[in-house]
Structure formats: C-alpha cells, structure tokens
Amino acid sequence: MKKSIYGTFLGAACAAMFSTGHAESPDAAQSAAATRIAVTTCTTCHGPKGVSISPKFPVLAGQHASYLAAQMHNFKSQTRGDPDALGYMWGMAATLDDDTIQGLADYYAHQTPPPAHPSHSAEVARGEAIYLHGEPDAGIPACATCHGAKAEGTDTFPRLAGQQPQYLVKQLRSFSSNLRNVAVMHGVAQGLKEAQMEDVAEYLRTLGP
C-alpha cells in the first residue's frame, strides 16, 4: 500500500512548519534521525533528554557514548541478559543499525546529567566509604578505581553519578547472579550484601555533573 495521501500531506505540512529551511548533511540527517527516535520513543522510559522519571529505568544523560553504544549492541545481540534488558531492550534494539546506535549514543552523551541530590544520611556515608575505599577485608575493591572519584566514568566504565538507585541495585544483583555477565562486576557484586548495594546506590544519587 502506498503512503496515504492524508499522511503524506500532514507529514509535509508539519515538516514545513518545523523545518529550518536548510538541506541537511548526512551527519546532520543521522543526528536528526537519532534525535527523533530518542524524543519520540526512548523518552517514554528514559525521560526527557535522558533523565528518567521512573527509578526502574536508567538515566542516560551524560553517559559515555562508547558505553551506550556497547550496551545497545549487547541488547541487539542479546548478550546482555539482566531482566529488563531481556524484557525491554532486546526488542527495542533489535532493528537498530550501527549508525542509529551511534547517533543515539551521541545524543545522550551530549545531554546534561541530572543534578546532585545531596544527603548526609548514615546510608549515604556507608555507601561513600564503600565506593571510595571498598571493603578490603571482604575483597571488595573501591568502585572509584574504575568509575572515577566522582563516579564520572570513562570510555570503558560507565558514569554512575546521578544514576537511579533502584536501577543500580538491580544491576548489582544481576552481576551477582551472572544474568548480566561481566566478569569483573560479578566478583565485586558477589561480595556485596544487599544493604551495601543499596548504600552505594544511594550515595551515587548524591553526585551531580
């Protein structure tokens, strides 16, 4: 079936309304296509500009593009198997091509991470201690070693500052059970008690851009 006349007309009219009037370069077109997917699809769970509202879904704003792209490829290849990856992202990523994945990764990497949520609770203090110094007696290394002193992450290790605590705890559980199969994190998460996971996650929520 051809595109409906109505749809074509409406689409053209809307495009004219919001068009900048300039021909787009291939890169710009790729960026615009990625932005459209982010704004009209990803935002439903990951929030406006990548700052999720529901704690079930991770904040993507300010995340490193290389990490985001790697995860999308893992979803597409179904090699990341934590519950929500399987339940949501395997389907969402199945038809993404490499250019779109890179465009989405760049879009979210350029967004502003969420602000800090300062707290001086005992829970946060315990989480800070684990994050910065680890638990040497239990063989748990300091998280900061890989993720950075301010949890800003690197090209290889994800930014954790400002991340949703519920999401972080669920990921630590998934590392521990090997549903999300990352050898380094499996070792770390296995040594953490449930309460310690929650402490670290709450601490990371207090860190801003």
Binding site: R36, T40, K56, Y88
Partner: protein
C-alpha cells in the same frame, strides 16, 4: 404496553445486555511478539496500561522489532512494509456464575432456573493487533460469545499516528482513530471501554440504566476521532460517531442499509465526542485527570414494515428525537514498583436527557438525568497475586415509564420507577504466568433498579442478584 414503550424497553434491554457484556478490555500477546517486549513493558497486569503502554497505543500500535516484507521503487519510494508474521492473538474465557438467589423459571411456571451457569467458553476471540503499515496499526477483535451464540465484531480501533520533534526536544504525537466504541481508543483505564471490571459475567442480572457513553453503544457506532498527545502529558481528542448497527438490514432491499424507521435508536446525523486529559509522572507514580463526553441524538425508531409505524404513527428518522448529553470526569493514579503495584481509578458520568421523542408515551418526564460513579482500587504483588475492590453507583430521575414495573417474573423491572443501583465488587486474581489469569469475583448490590427489598415488585431483593463469578482467562 404500546409499541413505542416496547421500543424503548427493548432499547434499554439491549443497553443492559451491552452493559453486561461491556467488559471487553484486552491485552494481547501479539503486541509482545511484535515488539519483542514482555507484557510488563505496557501493562501493570493486563489489561491495565502503564505509561509506556499508553504511549504505544497513542503511537498507533506500530512499534516493532520484526523484519518487514518490503517493496520500494527505483526512486526509493516505499510501497510496502509488511510484518513478516501477522500480529495475531487469541483469547479464551471460561467462567462459572452463581447468583445469590436463582432466577424465576422463564416459562412463567413455578420453580427456578439453574442456580449456576457454566460458560464454556464465555468468549473466544481472535485479534489482529499490531502494525499494518508504517504509522498505521490496529487493535481489532472478532469474538464468539456464548450468550449470543454467534461470532461478531468486537472492540476495534484502527489508527494512523505520527510524531513530531518540537523545540527543546519535546514530542507531539498526533493521529486519527477509526473505532466502534466511544472510549475504546482512550489511553487510560478510567474510561468505560477499558475500565474495571475488565471481565464480568454474562449470566448475571444487569441493572436497567446505563449512560450512553458507558458501553451502551459499543459495536453499534463508527467513530472517527483526531487526537494529539503533547510531551506524553497533555492529551486532547475530538471526533464524530455515527450509527453503524450490526445485523440490521433495510426491510425493502434486505441489504445492510440504509437504516430507516424500523431500526431502533438511530443517531441523528453524527454525535460529537471530546476528550482532554493531563498526566503527571513523578518517581514511581503517575496521576491522570481528565474529562470526556459526547452528545447523542437518537430517533427512537423501532417501527415495523408491516405496521408502517408504531402506535398509529410511522417511526420515521425525522422529527422529534431524544438527546443524551454525557459529561464525565475521570482520574487514574498508579504506583509501579518492582514488587508492589497499586492503582486507583475513578470516573463520574453525568447524563442529561431531553426525551422529546419519547416523553408521555415511553418516558414519564420530558427531562431526566442519570449519574454513574465508579471507583476501584487495585493491588498486585509481583504481578502474580492481586485484587480489586470497586464501588459502583448509578442514580437518576424516577421515571416509571422508562424504568417500568411490569408483571411477573420481574427481575429486570423496577417497582418504583427508579434506576438507582449501587454496590461493591471484590476480585482476587492469580497469574501463574503473565498471560494467564484466574479470577474470583463477587458483586454485591446494596440497591438494584431503585430498591433494596422487593425492588421489582415481584418479591425479589437486590441482594438476590449478588453474583459469584469464577473465571479462567487465557490470552496467547
């Protein structure tokens, strides 16, 4: 009873039957197959939608992860993008219903009907639910129901939807819906078509009165509505509905139409429909508040070809008509965590009736009102165990002709001409899998068709219509 009164009475009966069968809200696994996402992506527990499910619906059911069969021209014009596998699903409901007190025997002789009813199946449905083409999708349901013993069209919503990226990376989803039940296209479970109870017995006793927008016109009209959803927060919709009766033929040609005075309750021209809603999300919470409504003008009709009319006057599709103006408010609160899920929904529908065509002959008053209020609280633990407590209430003008007393066996009559009905529904559900539901539901009536004791003038009490309902509900 004269023929006009009979016409209105039949209309009310049909209305009551539709009300009884109205719960037709379904979630279907074809969406899960199409998107590659689990049921919980769109639902708390089916058929209640979460925020993602609402946006998926607004986007025309088109999100998919399937490889398409494609057709393009040499100029890269897209001619076809067809799902490799059709998005088909099936649903079966098997139920058992026990009335608190058996019905009188339908023969009119002494004795009672059976005390319990096995529905095997109560319904069996086939769905095409998913993408049809880029930006076009459908939720369409074909149902065999054991009360009618026939296969017929059920809830259907065919959509075109698209989206714009607005400045500051906000979104505007817009589209049109072609559907056969006012509110079946709505995004929240606080409106009638997809509201609680999501499943109900078809072997119970239904009250005489229901507002027009409250399922009365389901599958009896066709509507075209246009809608927009701004920033996944603000929803607005307007549209028109027109009579599209199933199984009604023109008496002269025997064809599907055009409708004439032999048909009952035919819409005069088209009925306008409007909807506005706002949803706010914070953390695990979401809260929606909105309004919806429509204005229906009906020619009573119901004449016969043989008599040429009713009570000595032809029932032409012209002249006086009855007008029903429905204005409703609704809200929905949801709390969705990993283990605990809670929702609270409610709606109040107020109907103002101008009964110019029926007054005196079929209605005692030229103006009547009817107000329905429903509130229900739902809780689930791990999407496996849960239940609902619901309150329902309908109050309206006393109208002895519209809500008539009648003789034996009573049951579906009103001794005092009042439509007032109210009660509670308690339901417990167990879902061993996300697409299989076992339900126990109990409905208690405090008042039925205007009374508590001897409401029908034949000695039946409201509590006699209390209903225990067991349901096996499978979607696959």
């Amino acid at each position: 009873m004269n023929k006009n009164a009979s016409t209105l009475r039949n209309g009310l009966w049909a209305l009551a039957l539709v009300f009884a069968a109205a719960p037709g809200a379904h979630a279907v696994p074809s969406f899960a197959r199409q998107t590659g996402m689990t049921c919980e992506a769109c639902h708390t527990v089916y058929p209640e939608l979460n925020h993602f499910g609402r946006v998926f619906k607004a986007n025309g059911y088109t999100l998919d992860n399937l490889k398409d069969v494609r057709g393009i021209t040499a100029k890269k014009e897209e001619m076809l993008s067809l799902a490799g596998l059709p998005p088909l699903s099936a649903m079966i409901q098997v139920s058992y219903t026990q009335l608190n007190h058996p019905l009188p025997d339908g023969t009119g002789a002494a004795g009672h009907s059976q005390s319990g009813t096995v529905d095997f199946p109560q319904q069996f449905s086939i769905f095409y639910a998913g993408k049809i083409a880029p930006h076009i999708g459908a939720f369409s349901q074909l149902t065999y129901a054991n009360d009618s013993g026939t296969i017929g069209i059920d809830n259907t919503d065919i959509r075109y939807a698209n989206a714009l990226v607005l400045p500051d990376d906000r979104s505007l989803i817009y589209g049109v819906s072609l559907n056969n039940n006012p509110t079946v296209q709505d995004l929240w479970n606080s409106t009638p078509a997809f509201g609680f109870p999501y499943a109900a017995t078809n072997a119970g006793v239904s009250p005489l009165a229901a507002t027009q927008i409250d399922g009365t016109l389901a599958q009896d009209v066709a509507g075209l509505t246009a809608y927009m959803l701004w920033n996944e927060q603000v929803y607005a919709e307007i549209g028109l509905y027109r009579s599209a009766k199933q199984g009604t033929t023109n008496p002269i040609t025997g064809g599907a139409g055009p409708l004439d005075g032999t048909a009952s309750n035919v819409l005069r021209s088209s009925a306008p429909y409007a909807r506005i809603a706002y949803e706010y999300q914070w953390g695990r919470h979401s809260l929606e508040a909105g309004m919806y409504g429509a204005q229906f003008k009906f020619f009573p009709g119901g004449g016969t070809a043989a008599s040429g009319g009713t009570a000595g006057s032809p029932a032409l599709l012209s002249g006086p008509y009855n007008e029903f103006r429905d204005v409703a408010e609704d809200f929905q609160y949801q709390y969705i965590a990993e283990e605990h899920l809670f929702s609270l929904t409610g709606t109040r529908i107020h109907e103002a009736m101008n009964l110019d065509a029926s007054a005196a002959a079929n209605a005692s008053n030229p103006r009547d009102t009817l107000t329905t209020v429903r509130v229900n609280a739902n809780y689930y633990y791990k999407r496996m165990y849960g239940g609902t407590l619901a309150r329902f209430q309908t109050n309206g003008s006393t109208d002895p002709l519209m809500y008539a007393a009648g003789g034996p066996p009573g049951v579906v009559t009103s001794a005092n001409g009042s439509p007032d009905t109210r009660g509670w529904i308690g339901e417990f559900n167990y879902l061993p899998w996300l697409n299989t539901k076992l339900s126990v539901q109990y409905t208690h009536f405090d008042r039925f068709n205007g009374g508590n004791v001897n409401y029908d003038g034949q000695g039946r009490n409201a509590g006699a219509n209390d209903t225990a309902y067991l349901l096996l509900w499978l979607v696959f």
